[in-house]
Symmetry: C2
Subunit: 108 residues, 2 copies
DNA sequence: TGTCGTACTTCATCTGTCGTAGTAAACTTG
DNA sequence: CAAGTTTACTACGACAGATGAAGTACGACA
């Protein structure tokens, strides 16, 4: 299992990735992250939902409700253009981060 | 420049790496991290020194003073066996982290 | 004598994560 | 159809690690 301090800084990126190919909502995103990471990373509920708040406040995602849906009270999110730009930035940053951290790693 | 939330979780690892081939002290380690990362990462002083405290408290490094040194008040550190084990753990974890995060990265 | 580089230390603040807990609808299974 | 499980959140408080700002103090150099 991956410790959270390592991933911290990429939770937002993961969520944004999950919204790249269309809108989704908390529970679904959570499941998808878990599945895509092959159970190696499970985002805590509180982390996920507080990330939504932050991302929306920063204008990277926008929330809405689907009406006509049988009372499931889901909050859907979609990525904004700013969110996409931010995501791409993070991807570039990740390449550099890998390069840098790898200099400090000794393979056994 | 790399944002700190990304690296957070690997500051300790970097410091330990710097102690793998012998004792060192704060200022030197700081310089070496900067140099090795090719200026891409500069650890803040407060981050560095608070990391020392934490690492020592966890038994991963031990501090000492060299006597006979002309009053430069340096605190030297060396890595312990627990520190080495912890470092190796972190290296393994890093491999997994890379794999996981890369699943959420789209190359342009 | 003053400034720069070295080598820290203290303190207060902020951000993001996490544990605990609770709500409530919908689906499942005996 | 009752009871448990899954879905889908929300609220609150605590905590760790990073950070900014500021200060101390020695030595070198010019």
């Amino acid at each position: 299992m991956i410790s959270s301090d390592v991933i911290r800084g990429y939770n937002d990126t993961m969520i944004l990735y999950m919204l790249l190919d269309g809108e989704s909502y908390g529970y679904e995103i959570s499941k998808n992250i878990r599945r895509l990471s092959e159970e190696k990373y499970v985002m805590k509920e509180t982390t996920l939902y507080s990330a939504f708040t932050r991302l929306e406040k920063n204008g990277y995602i926008s929330s809405f409700h689907k009406d006509g849906e049988s009372g499931k009270r889901r909050t859907y999110y979609r990525i904004t253009e700013e969110g996409l730009a931010y995501y791409q930035e993070k991807c570039s940053e990740w390449q550099i981060t890998q390069e840098v951290v790898n200099k400090f790693i000794k393979e056994p």
